[in-house]
Symmetry: C2
Subunit: 422 residues, 2 copies
């Protein structure tokens, strides 16, 4: 790729030029690029697998944990899923040009508020090659250029995948530079350069570890959307269907513990703790979950071993088969606990009362508040947004899954016939 010898600033500037063009591209052209991406992914599966095999065989990848090697690994099914993802995004409505408001102003001006692309979106991501396609497909459809900064572990896989999208863009008559991959040798200096391209990079999205986010917080001068940690809670109210609560607590913790929408804390109303906890904790223990609890939870744990929770445990995102369990005396106490210790990601109540559900939803300050469902549903695909580029726990701009609309801004287009201000 041409970008491997360019500086970060030069690459971003090329992205800016491409962004100006892509902002005006037709829905048809953008969809053609996504369909071509899907076709090329399927047609060149062998080539992509070769590149991926080389990444996996690289001595740098030897020390990776099994879980990380799994995330790095591609196979025919996973490449097929990427192609399906690109087609699914092509099938979504184009957000660009959507008229958000139309008003006749007192001055006689005609005002329209119109959805437009952000411009250049930069994504820094972990060693998961499929993210290359997911992110590029979302930015192409939303009329943005993307600058990808992948992990060096996935260097060859990402190169093969980005090359396919660039070829697809050209086939669709669009600028290849709408998708740019920074060289895998990118150092922390290069990351700083990327995070300080004021006026060029319109949004930087760091995915992955907290270390990366902390590093960026110190240096970034471009707008950043932090996908912060998810310290999610399941609260079982006094009137909960206990069998439902047991399934939800289990699913929220066990089904995929390493993701941000998995639950880390189980809160239980004192009135049902003695009936609810023994079986539920036994389930969790049987699934290999290490349990910590407050005094009352430990007393009610029955034969299950529950360690003593320290203060820090209530604020920790374990991302692992580990959970902290507390007993509360009221819904308000649960809400206060969640607002004090949570990260405003996804919070669930299990209750049979509309009132309790309403109080919980109103009182908890989080991107997503569930009644009688697992926290694990916070996801762009599950939310009917097609895909997501990450999950936002901040309040400004976008909250929850970041999909097509969340990659846009708006512009006021105002028409007059000579109006001046008195």
């Amino acid at each position: 790729m041409a970008t491997t010898t360019a500086t970060v600033a030069e690459t971003c500037a090329a992205g800016k030029r491409a962004a100006r063009e892509l902002a005006r591209a037709s829905t048809e052209a953008k969809n053609r690029a996504l369909e071509a991406t899907a076709r090329l992914l399927e047609g060149r599966t062998a080539e992509i697998l070769d590149a991926n095999a080389a990444d996996l065989a690289d001595e740098r990848a030897v020390d990776l944990t099994e879980a990380l090697r799994d995330r790095l690994t591609l196979n025919e099914d996973r490449i097929g899923a990427m192609a399906e993802g690109a087609r699914a995004i092509a099938a979504l409505a184009d957000p660009i040009g959507e008229e958000l408001e139309h008003k006749d102003l007192a001055s006689g001006l005609d005002l329209r508020k119109v959805r437009v692309p952000l411009g250049v979106v930069a994504v820094v991501y972990e060693a998961r090659p499929n993210v290359t396609i997911d992110c590029a497909a979302l930015t192409v459809k939303s009329g943005n250029a993307i600058v990808l900064r992948g992990s060096s572990y996935a260097e060859r896989s990402n190169g093969a995948l980005a090359a396919i999208v660039r070829e697809a863009l050209e086939e669709a008559g669009l600028s290849q530079d709408a998708v740019l991959l920074l060289p895998a040798t990118a150092s922390r200096d290069d990351l700083t350069e990327l995070a300080t391209q004021d006026g060029v990079v319109d949004l930087l999205i760091p995915r992955g570890g907290e270390g990366l986010k902390a590093a960026l917080k110190g240096v970034a001068t471009v707008p950043v959307m932090y996908a912060a940690a998810g310290n999610c809670h399941v609260y079982v109210h006094s009137d909960a269907d206990l069998e439902m609560a047991r399934r939800i607590a289990y699913n929220a913790k066990v089904q995929r513990p390493g993701v941000c929408n998995a639950a880390e804390t189980l809160l239980v109303h004192a009135a049902i703790a003695n009936r609810f906890l023994p079986d539920t904790l036994a389930d969790l223990h049987a699934a290999g979950v290490e349990l910590l609890g407050d005094e009352r939870a430990r007393e009610l744990a029955g034969e299950v071993e529950v360690g003593a929770a320290g203060d820090a445990d209530w604020g920790t995102e374990y991302l692992d088969l580990k959970m902290v369990v507390g007993v509360v005396d009221s819904l308000d106490e649960a809400v206060d606990h969640i607002n004090s210790h949570g990260t405003s990601h996804s919070e669930a109540i299990v209750t049979s009362s509309e009132d309790a559900a309403g109080s919980f939803a109103a009182g908890v300050d989080a991107a997503v508040v569930y009644t009688n469902a697992s926290t694990r549903f916070t996801d762009g695909f599950e939310f009917g947004m097609g895909a997501e580029i990450g999950n936002s726990t901040q309040k400004l701009h976008a909250r929850g899954p970041i999909g097509l609309r969340e990659l846009t801004t708006y512009k006021y287009v105002v028409r007059g016939n000579g109006q001046v201000r008195e």
Copy 2:
């Protein structure tokens, strides 16, 4: 006020508690507080004027320029206008609780995307006491608490005005701490403390000088919405109604030169420059505007004195009776110039062609793009938003006037009947 002896952190924490309450307040209660504010402003005009007179008589205020003293000065009319403003905001629709989306998900979950308040909004502002009421009224209506950090020049005026809103809140049965005024002795250290209240201050809006914004950029860890400078342009296309263009250029520069939506640059298509410039520049000159220009503009200026524009002039927000004038050979050149030198605030084209208007609106990357109107209309009141707390030139979250909706975020409220993720 109780807050004068509290630390910045304590004041913000009090605001957070009040914000939780105000988020659930009824539209009626919030409107009662705004109506009571208006009534108390009118009933206590003499008291407010006394406080303002003391601010103006303070030795600190002696060295202020005439323009700054004017901004600091209150009178019966201005207090009446504040009361009217509070009533106008009461009359606006309540944005809180608005359902932005409602979907039945494939999993059977019922998803609603609901507008909610941000929480605690902090505003740092210049010595304009009316801003106290404007900002407090907008945050009360949008269900947010506000922490105000005014100028020490306006200490007594702001104190009198904030006390009135607090009394009005109490009268309406709402927490007084939804409106908090930091002591006027607040130093730069206090500003840093305010800008680092992570998890407490949900949005910080610095109004006023670039120095303040630069200082905050270095230290702020809470989300900040910068109301950046407005280097606005008027571009006169080759097919413009030249009489209209002359009025628009004049209005955009002269009507109120010290504000961010005033124009700083006039760009003129070469085909009409010889017919347009002499009279227009003579008008501007007669109004006391100091003119700078490129070579062609200077040649066509006729008898008007036009200095040579340096490179920096094209990027300067004069906020004064000063303007730089350039001749371009095409609409594309004008768009490129604006995208290179502008600040994405407000940009205008004068043209009689739909095509040219469309190309300009699509090509210029700014919050507001005008056809055949003055840039001076970028304002919350003019846009039918009732009022504004500032004007955003960033792309994330809010662009252009910051009114009620721009002071909100959203929350996904998801209802299930036991759904777990497979």
